[in-house]
C-alpha cells in the first residue's frame, strides 16, 4: 500500500513539471511577429489577379487586367486617390468585362490591405442616404453601379446600359465568393 502511494507521489512532480515545460517549449511567444503577417506584395498581386481568373460567372474579360499602385491610382481616379491612400490602399485591379449578351461592365477592385480599411473606404464613399442591399449589408446598389466590400477588398462595378445594370448583382456575388 505504502509502496503504491510512494510511487504515485513520486511520479506526480516530474509528470506535472514535464508537461508544463514541454508545453512551454513548443509554443513560441504569441505573436511576436504576427503584426507583419500580411501577404507580401507579389503574393497579394497574384491573389488580386486571381479574382478574375476565371472571370465572374457569365462574363468574359475584354482586355487584360491592369494593376495600379499608389502612383497609378492618381491617374485612374485623380482627386479621389488621397482618401484611398490614407486608408493604406495597396493595389487596384481594373478590368473591363462583358456579359454573355455583350453588355459592357467596368470593374475596379481595390486591395485595401485589411478588412478594416476596406470597410472604412466603403463607409467614406457611400452617400448619406444610400441604402444597403437587402440581405447583404456590405453592398450598395446604385443607378448603373454596384459597390461592396469583402475581406480586404473594396469593389466598384459600373454598368453602361440597362441590361448590364441588371446583371450587376450576380456579377458582384460571383466576385465576392472568390475573395478570401
Amino acid at each position: 500500500m505504502r509502496i503504491i502511494l510512494f510511487a504515485v507521489l513520486a511520479v506526480i512532480p516530474p509528470t506535472l513539471i514535464g508537461t508544463l515545460v514541454w508545453q512551454g517549449r513548443k509554443a513560441p511567444p504569441a505573436e511576436y511577429a504576427a503584426a507583419s503577417a500580411r501577404p507580401s506584395g507579389q503574393e497579394a498581386d497574384k491573389a488580386l489577379r486571381a479574382l478574375f481568373e476565371p472571370p465572374p460567372t457569365g462574363t468574359k474579360i475584354k482586355e487584360q487586367i491592369t494593376l495600379y499602385d499608389e502612383k497609378g491610382l492618381f491617374d485612374f481616379i485623380d482627386g479621389a486617390a488621397p482618401i484611398f491612400i490614407d486608408r493604406h490602399f495597396r493595389k487596384l485591379a481594373a478590368a473591363e468585362i462583358a456579359t454573355a449578351e455583350g453588355s459592357d461592365l467596368d470593374c475596379a477592385v481595390y486591395d485595401m490591405a485589411t478588412p478594416e480599411n476596406a470597410q472604412s473606404i466603403f463607409d467614406k464613399e457611400k452617400s448619406a442616404n444610400a441604402k444597403v442591399v437587402d440581405g447583404w449589408p456590405e453592398a450598395i446598389a446604385g443607378p448603373m453601379s454596384f459597390v461592396f466590400h469583402n475581406t480586404r477588398y473594396y469593389a466598384k462595378l459600373t454598368a453602361f446600359d440597362a441590361k448590364a445594370e441588371a446583371a450587376l448583382p450576380a456579377v458582384a456575388h460571383s466576385l465576392k465568393e472568390k475573395m478570401k
Binding site: 508545453q23 511567444p29 504569441a30 504576427a34
Partner: protein
Amino acid sequence: MFLWLRRSYQAVFLIFFLFLVFASTSRFIRGYDVQWFLEIDPLVALTTALSSHTLHHALVWSLPLIVLTLVFGRFFCSWMCPMGVLHHLLGHLGRKRKVLQRVEQNSPRTSHNIKYAVLAVMVGLAAAGSVQIGLLDPIASTWRGLSVSVLPAASNTASGLYQGERHFQWGTLITIVFFGALALNFVYPRFYCRVLCPLGAFLGLLSKFSLFRISKDISRCNDCDVCGADCQGAADPMGTVRATECMVCLNCTKGCKRGGIAYRFLPALKLSKVETDLSRRKWLAAGLVGVASVPLARASDGVDPRPNPARIRPPGALDEPDFLGKCLKCGACMKVCPTGGLQPALAEAGLEGFWSPILIPRIGYCEHSCTLCGQVCPTGAITHLKVADKVGEMPAKPPVRLGSAFFDKGRCLPWGYNTECIVCEEVCPTSPKAIYFKVETITARDGTQKTLKFPYIDLDHCTGCGTCENRCPVVDRAGVRVSAANESRSPKSSVSLTGGKI
C-alpha cells in the same frame, strides 16, 4: 521514506520555480507558463475574485490546490512553496543543537496568530476593492525579490542574463524586505511562515477540515518530546496537534522511534486542535480594518482626481480602479520587459499602487510590437493584447496608447538651442510616424541663415511608447517626455477628440 519524498519535492519545486524565474526574460520565455506558482496560489484567486468579482481564467489552477488542502492539510508549505523551501533551508542556520532547545524553538507562540490577522486585513482590503496581498504573499514576494533585487544584481555583476544593465528604482527597499524576511530565520526557524504568511494562514484555515492529519498513537507515546524538535509549523505534536499550523513536513514521524506519531486518515477529533487562537473579535476587527482602510486611503490619494503624469501603465492594463483590484505587484511584468522600462512605483500610483508597475521611458521604452507583460501577468491586471490590436491600423483602428509625448521646448535641441537633432522622429515606431517635422529657416548666433527641422507631435498617432524620450540626447530630463494623459485605457484621460468618446 516519505520524508525523502518530501525533500525531493522541495528540491524539484524550488528548481522549477527558479527555472521559471530565469525563463521569464524576453530572450527565453517562449510560451512557458512562467506564472504557474502564482496561478495555483489560492489567496491570489480569492483576493482578486473578491475585488473584481471575476476569476481570471488562469487562476482556476488554484482550485485543485484548495481541494487537495481540504483533504490533505497544509502540505503546500513544506512540499511545494518556494518561499517555504528557502526558509526551511535557512532555518537550519538558526537551528539550535540540543533537542530540548529545538523543542522550545519550535513551540507554538501567541505571535503565530498574527498571520491570521494579516489574512483578515488582506481579505478586508480585497473585499473593498484593493488588492494588496502581493506585498506579503510568499510566492509574489519571492518572485519580486528575485526579479527586482537578486537577479539584476547577479546579472549586473556577472552579466549574461540581460542585454544591458538592469536597474529598478528604489529596488533596495525590496531587497531589504526580501532578505529581512529570510534573516528572521535567525530568531527561530520559519519565522515568516509561522508569524506573517497570509497564504499559510489561509491554507491553515482550510486544514481545519482536512481528512488526513498528523496524530499521536497515545498507547505508544512516552512523552519524550523528540517529535517536536524539528516541527516546521510549530504545531505542538507532543500535545494536541494543531491542524492549522501543521505543514505535513513529517519530521515528527522521523523523530519518534516508537511509531507513536503518524499521518493518518480521520484521526479522532480530540487528538487535534483546529481553532486558531485568534478570538472572533480580533478576526472581525482585523477584517474591518482592511475594509475601512480602502475608502480612507482613497479619500486622501484618490484614484483619479489629479492623475499623476508619471503613472504610465503597461500596454493592456485595465483602467486604474480595476487595475488596483488585480495587480499583485509580483514584478513579473517588470522582469520580462525587454527594455527594463517597467519599474516599481513609489508614490506615482498613490499608496495603493506602491510597487505596482509603471513605465519610466527614460529607463526603458515600450517596444512597439511587444506584448510580453500581458503574457506573463497572472491575474489579468494587464490583459494579453494581440499585437495587431496594440499596434492598431490608422485611421480605421487606433492603437493602444499608454499616454502621449509632449515637447519641452526649452530642452529640446532644435527648439531650445537651434541645433539639428530629430532623433525622436527617427526612432518613432508608428506608421505614419507620430512625430513629424517642419523645415524652418532661422537666424543663427553669428547672423547666418540656418535651416533646421523642428519636430511636432501628432496626438492621434502617438502611442506614448516613450521611444522618443528614451533616445533623446538630453540625458537627464529629456526634451520630449511622455505623460499618462491621453492613455486609451481610461476614457476620462483622453485629450484628443478622435475616438468618439468624451
